[in-house]
Amino acid sequence: MNKTLKNLFLGGAVALTWTACTPETVDPNADLKTNVVSNYCDIVLASYEDSYTTAVALQTAVNNLVSTPTQVTFDAAKAAWRAAREPYGQTEAYRFYDGPIDDADGPEGALNAWPLDENYIDYTLSATNTIDYTGIIHDATTYPTIDAATLAGLNEQGGEKNISIGYHAIEFLLWGQDYVNVNTNVGQGGSRTYTDYTNISQNYDRRGMYIKACADLIVQDLGALKAEWAASGAYRTYFKGLASDEALTKILTGIGILSKSELAGERMFTALEANAADNPQEDEHSCFADNTHRDIITNAQGIANVLNGTYVDVNNSTKGNAAYSINALVTAVNTGVASSLATAQATALTKVNAIPVPFDKTVTEENVADNGPVYQAVKALQEQGDKIAEAATALGLTISTDLPE
């Protein structure tokens, strides 16, 4: 062949060899990322398992109360409710990325929605201090049957209408409305008595059916969540099948949004700045039991669990592996960012635990401008949210810490 053609072939061959030999960039942390994602699934499952078993214990205690209403069974039911909230609060770190808890069909609203439409459920105190026997419990005509299916159906009438089931419904049915002055009966919550489940109380039997139905629904929903995250569960399979970066984006989005916006903003700042003149003490999520301080602490702990890669279960046993944690991954990529995140995490936990109990008394007394313990905790959680976003950036990911609604 002629000289030009020969040169052309030679040039082409060199070019081809060049592209074939250029190596793809290999991620030195690829294995660690896979392990972090897998470890996350393990601690998610462990915390949902605890949420499930404590919910079953709550269901048992509620059934006991209804069949044998005494001070003892009543107190046991309340204790079981508080115990059930401990692991559940930690699972809120798995929200905000359309996971099983809050995708289009997710049970988050059914489990934990707030505020509760008290009048829609049971008797309430009127503006003139009389008892109004309103609500499903006192309306046998419109609602002849009270069971899990009926209540679930009512709660789904187009969006978040008339919240009437979930943890806070059970809370309301155990404690009742909290109108007790924050200073006279500190942290005691509402003053329902066990006699509301005995035959001296109007429609006590329907109240019993209602609270049992709510407990049944919670157990059902948590059972479904547990199944999704089980070793061969549908969502875990999907989650582990994602590219590591996509899974990590979801993990960081959940804790970033919870820290920066949902917990710091909606749960704490909103309650803090609520207008004192109009009884703000109950703009707190666990307003009937005065348990909001635990909600805040368990939410913050849930974030820490994800960062640390571990979860301490209800039997004090540690699940997960810190070597396969977000913190370990961030350290491998950027020690400076990891260090800032660790500081922010420690400060957030300290500040949150320093909020005086009960929450409703504290927010009534503290003003935004005081830079008091609640405000400091808000700022610390926001800072933690920002550091989580920075960690994402260091990993080459982008997350938003805004509430997705």
Partner: protein, 467 residues
């Protein structure tokens, strides 16, 4: 031989030149992808409408989360221990703002088998006006049909919608079909409607960029007004003048399908009382009429000032509604999108869908001041023809007149709200249908669209969807 080669080369050269001319590259305007100026946030997921303006600072960004809380959480029946959140109804359409403005997005018509709702409500009035020249409510049903009520009170009624398809043809022979709705009231709980009742179906609008529209100066709006069509271009936009309660005077209207509300603040307060039954300092009277006795007797959630929405809470929801980020453009520098943009301007769409403004000083939220924004609206009323008329005046707006809808965010309704329905009653099933419904002042531009080639129509639609 040489002569032939020379001629060949010349021919090739000329061909090449003319071929290059057809592949002229179009360029976007510098910065047009920042539809909301510094309030723009780039996200095209189903959360696209829910982000706060990134330039919100300090305490305001925390206060935004309070506004978010009151926008999203349900209101409950009075009297509840959550005293800041009770007072729902007694008559309502939804229990929370997010019920209609789901994910801060656009409402739609009900699908077969669904209950009426999903972000569509019906306004009511009888002939005449109230003391400020606005719509006069029905003596029993008031100014809006309440499809929900608290326990012990009857909801006002329900609505059925049926459609008639009207076919047409594009210039290139392709057929299209538009659906015209008919509404029938049913299960009316308070007797028959007045025989001369007027009604208007209204879909909930996406919430982005509202505060920016508040910050456009009145002069910049009036600059485009030409009620008498003095310039003879066929467009005769006119400002609506509506009553501002807090200022006790008539001011230019900006919000709502007929520009019936003057400010985001009053729009929010109006929606609270009309749609959820929550009274405020601006609207301290419940939405039911004196004829609805069970509603009259029901407990309210009034605070120590005598209304249900705390002043601070109104401020927070106003902030929230004003400062949602405008989503950044998608594909703004795509050649087909830019060709579509050129066609949009050639067809004269921008005469009403005015592209761009620089906002003035916002009285309350500095993040919204001095921003270059691209809302594609003149905020003025235009006669859109008989086909779209609701036959119900609203202040200076006649039945045929509608405010130019802002187009920002329109392309994201599909991913956020899982539908593509447009226009005041959601009758248009996509952008093409929405354009084809343009009559009256919009007829000429509609005709230009209708007679474009199929490729050009697709390009124009691609442009609109990039907004």
């Amino acid at each position: 031989m040489l002569y032939n080669n020379y001629w060949l080369v010349l021919c090739l050269f000329v061909t090449a030149l003319s071929a290059c001319d057809k592949e002229r590259v179009l360029y976007p305007e510098d910065g047009e992808q920042y539809a909301g100026g510094e309030t723009t946030f780039f996200n095209a997921s189903r959360n696209a409408f829910g982000f706060s303006a990134p330039n919100l600072e300090g305490l305001q960004s925390l206060q935004f989360t309070t506004g978010n809380s009151f926008f999203n959480q349900a209101w409950v029946t009075a009297v509840a221990s959550t005293a800041g959140r009770d007072g729902l109804g007694p008559l309502f359409n939804e229990t929370a703002c997010s019920g209609c403005h789901f994910k801060d997005g656009r409402g739609r018509t009900p699908r077969p088998g669904e209950v009426f709702g999903h972000g569509l409500l019906i306004r009511l009035s009888i002939p005449g006006t109230n003391t400020h020249g606005g719509p006069l409510g029905d003596p029993f049903y008031g100014g809006q049909l309440s499809t929900g009520a608290i326990n012990g009170v009857n909801a006002e009624g329900d609505v059925d919608i049926t459609y008639i398809e009207e076919t047409g043809t594009y210039g290139d022979g392709t057929t299209y079909s538009l659906r015209k709705p008919t509404y029938t009231f049913k299960n009316l709980a308070y007797g028959a409607m007045s025989s001369n009742i007027m009604f208007s179906p209204r879909v909930a609008n996406q919430m982005v960029g509202m505060g920016l529209l508040d910050a456009i100066s009145t002069n910049d709006i009036l600059m485009h007004a030409d009620e008498a069509d003095v310039d003879g271009d066929g467009i005769s936009g006119k400002a609506n003048y509506v009553y501002d309660v807090e200022k006790s005077t008539m001011v230019i209207g900006r919000f709502g399908w007929k520009a019936g509300e003057p400010t985001v603040r009053q729009q929010v307060a109006g929606a609270f009382v009309g749609d959820i039954g929550i009274t405020s300092s601006i609207f301290p009277n419940e939405n039911h009429t004196s004829q609805q006795t069970a509603a009259q007797a029901a407990p309210n959630g009034n605070n120590s000032n005598g209304y249900e929405l705390d002043d601070q809470t109104l401020d927070r929801v106003e902030l929230y509604s004003s400062a949602l980020a405008v989503p950044g453009r998608r594909n703004w520098n795509d050649q087909d999108v830019l060709k579509g943009k050129a066609l949009f301007f050639e067809a004269g769409c921008q005469k009403c869908h005015v592209q761009k403004y620089r906002t003035g000083t916002h009285p309350r939220f500095s993040a919204l001041s001095n921003q270059t924004i691209y809302p594609y609206t003149d905020l003025l009323l235009h006669d859109m023809g008989e086909g779209l008329s609701d036959n119900r005046p609203e202040y200076l707006a006649t039945g045929r007149e509608w405010r130019t809808a802002p187009l920002w965010g329109i392309g994201l309704i599909e991913v956020v709200n899982d539908h593509t329905e447009l226009l005041h009653d959601g009758r248009a099933r996509n952008v093409a249908e929405a354009i084809l419904w343009h009559g009256g002042e919009g007829e000429a531009s509609k005709e230009i669209f209708r007679t474009m080639s199929s490729e050009e129509r697709e390009q124009l639609i691609a442009f609109v969807k990039s907004l």
